[in-house]
Structure formats: structure tokens, C-alpha cells
Symmetry: C2
Subunit: 243 residues, 2 copies
């Protein structure tokens, strides 16, 4: 039940304390986007949004609230595809997702009709992860990783999976080139999206509905921690065969 302005790192530290967990070097905290966005005051009252003509036109075409479409367009660099109810965009943060990651679910306004409020993604999730990590590291004295995740749809496959949208202190990609395999071959697979694998794992633990487990504590991440940005997980559009 995070509110705008809440001290999220302190809340996480208190929760770890309650759970009897002492942070150690190499631990990673995975945070649901929602709690980060809420703490950063990213709730928007739809009633105050005036849709542009472009938003109105698209909204009619896909049968969606024109004010919500306006926000989706504001949060995006480009519309890639549309279908009824859904706009697949390149988000201003660089990743491809549905409806710019804007969320009705689990969002409470300040007494106003709740359906009128929506939650935008954090302004800069890498920076959010950095900030949170810094505070957690200062208090714990440990070298940590922090990741912010959301649930994203995929091309080709049904259903959503937990996906990284912001990183601090852990690799997005792990490069296996030069490692060789059991028989000393050249590896077919050379780059593992380790952060996305961890995001999916954490998402399983979080659940999606009413369970309310928005922070997952990870110990034993099998790859070397290092500084990284989400960018390394994003395929440059000129190399993307599926845009």
C-alpha cells in the first residue's frame, strides 16, 4: 500500500528485518514496477487529461478511453501495432510493450473514483534502481543489485512474463563467448538475458493478483554482479527483424 513520497528503501529494509533476513554481498532485490511508480508519485488522474485529436482518432479505432490513449502516446516514442484495446509501442524508455505499461490495476487514488486513476511507469527506472540500491547499500554495508520489473507480453507466444525495466548493479546480459562448453565447442548461445531470466523467476514468486508480494529477495544469482543499464537488454531497432 505504497503512497507517493514513501521511503521505499526504508520500507524494504523494515520488511527484510521483520522477515529475519540480513542482507549479504551479492544479494539482489527485485521490485515490482508498481511500488516504485507509486512511491514516485506517478499516479495520474484521467479526468484531468485532455486528449489530442490524434489520441481521439486512435481511441475510436481501438475502442479505448481517449484520455488513456493520450497518456500512452505521451509515454511512447512510436506506435508499432494496434488492435482493439491495445497499442503496442516503443516506450520512451526504449523497450517495446503494450499500452506504454500504463496500469489500472492495483491503483488507488486519493478518495476519487479509482477507475479514474492510472499509474505510469517510473520516470527513469535505472535511476530509481540506482537510488534504491544506494540507500540499501549504505544501510546494509553490502554490495547489492536492484532490479525493477514489469509484466510484458511477447511476440509469438501467449501470456505475459516478468521482464526487467530498470537495473542497478547486476548484468542485463551475460556474455558466454569464450567460455566453451563441455566439449570445447563454440557455443550456439552466447548472450544470456540473465536479468530477464531473473525477472521471470521473481515474477513467479510475486504473483500478479491480490497476493501483494511486490519485493523479492534473491540470493545466489549465478553470474558476476557488475554495473549495467537496461539499455544492454534492448535490441537496437536496426538489428530487430520483428518491428
Amino acid at each position: 500500500m505504497i503512497q507517493s513520497g514513501d521511503d521505499l528503501p526504508q520500507i524494504i529494509l523494515d520488511s527484510l528485518d521483520e522477515a529475519g533476513i540480513t542482507l549479504e554481498d551479492g544479494d539482489i532485490l527485485v521490485l515490482a514496477q508498481k511500488i516504485v511508480s507509486k512511491s514516485e508519485g506517478r499516479l495520474v488522474n484521467l479526468a484531468k487529461i485532455v486528449p489530442s485529436p490524434r489520441a481521439c482518432e486512435l481511441a475510436e479505432k481501438i475502442q479505448k478511453d481517449s484520455r488513456l490513449v493520450e497518456l500512452i502516446l505521451q509515454e511512447s516514442r512510436e506506435v508499432l501495432r494496434t488492435r482493439v484495446g491495445t497499442i503496442i509501442v516503443e516506450h520512451r524508455l526504449g523497450f517495446v510493450c503494450a499500452n506504454a505499461g500504463i496500469d489500472h490495476s492495483n491503483v488507488a487514488g486519493d478518495g476519487t473514483l479509482q477507475e479514474e486513476w492510472v499509474l505510469l511507469l517510473p520516470e527513469d527506472p535505472d535511476a530509481s534502481a540506482n537510488r534504491i540500491r544506494e540507500q540499501l547499500e549504505t544501510v546494509s554495508g553490502c554490495r547489492l543489485g536492484v532490479m525493477i520489473i514489469d509484466s510484458h507480453g511477447r511476440a509469438w507466444r501467449n501470456g505475459v512474463v516478468g521482464t526487467a525495466i530498470g537495473l542497478s548493479g547486476l548484468p542485463g546480459l551475460v556474455d558466454l563467448r569464450g567460455e566453451g562448453d563441455l566439449f570445447g565447442y563454440t557455443l550456439r548461445i552466447t548472450m544470456i538475458a540473465a536479468a530477464d531470466e531473473l525477472a521471470a523467476a521473481a515474477s513467479l514468486v510475486m504473483g500478479q493478483a491480490a497476493e501483494g508480494t511486490p519485493v523479492v529477495h534473491v540470493r545466489g544469482f549465478p553470474y558476476h554482479l557488475r554495473e549495467a543499464k537496461l539499455q544492454e537488454l534492448l535490441r537496437p531497432r536496426e538489428q530487430d527483424l520483428f518491428r
Copy 2:
């Protein structure tokens, strides 16, 4: 070091025994595609493949071994995209992947030059998972899930992630519609690709290079186990905006 004809379920049972693990109802075993394919004798000697004219033409275009291209085409329903070294296909099993999942890595032939051998995916991974599960359930007396995974690239994002290619006894998708969230809203996210989230989690534990951890034992999967096929994870092509 699995060989064709090996009794994979028995090897898994022996390994669990050695590790001091007793299977319980609800446990899931996640298997790397490689060991399943090897046990099923899916190694192919490239030296015995005669490429078709179509394979030769494509091989020249993308600078790839024409015999390997021939196998990729044989294992695929359709070529979706090509670039140097890579053919993105709809596999005959229905999913989209690079090079039909055919693998040079970690493959040993029978004394022949190893580079000449490649490993195809299992003939029918759902059926393989069923078979393995049946034997594990008979011996253990427990209700289990079995999943076979491979590492797949994605549209839009760099790096590969562990992905389900065969299922038995666990859901591919989990439908959250009607669950409601903390505030009783309609959920934005309604279908979770739970099997793929678990595949990614298991892949993290397996690693990709020389570690050799091809089976992951999962306890505490948070969703209800049920009968399912991989099919439910595959988006029908007419609903896929990114083909």
C-alpha cells in the same frame, strides 16, 4: 553425458537420490532439451545430409553450412526471417525460434569429428515430458510436473531466455481473470505465461556453458498443477501482430 537410449527418468531418480531429495506431490522437474534429445537419439551426422537446391541457395545467402540449412528447413514449417548465420523459423512444433533449435554445442558424436554432428529437438517434446513424468510418478508415487526447455531469442530484446518447448502436468498459461486485485479492479494482466517464467528461472539455475546442470528440481510452484500442452503458450499466427 547422456547417450541415445539412456533411461533418462531413472538417471534423474538416481541423481535426486544422490542429492538426498525425496520427490513430493506438486514438484516439477525441468529438463534441458539437450539431454532429452540425446536420450532419444536425435543426433544427426551432417556428413550424411544432402542439401536441396533451396537449402543451398539460402545457405549461400546467409553464409551457413548448406547441410545444416537443409536440416533447419526439414524441421520447420516456415521461414520467417533470415540474416547472416541465422534463420528464424516457425518450427514444425509450432513455436518461433532461431535455426529450428538445432544445436552444435555440447554435442558429441561416436568418435567421428564432433563438428559434423548436430542435435535436433525431440520429435515431440510434450510426449517426451509425458513419458518421463509417467515413469517418475510411478516410481515416486507423487503427482509431478515435467517441463522441457530450450534457450530462445526474443523479438525486441537482446539475449536468450529459458523457454518451454514441452510440458506435462503443469499449466503453460495461468488465467487470472476473475481473481481481482488488491482494490477489486479488473486486472490489466490476465494471462501469465507461468511455464515460461519457470523455464527462465530454471535456466538461471542450469547455466548455459560448461556447468552441466541439465535438470532442475522445483518445489513450491505457486500455481495449481493441471494437464496441459505446449500449444496453449503459442500465439495463433492470425493473432500475432509480429510475424
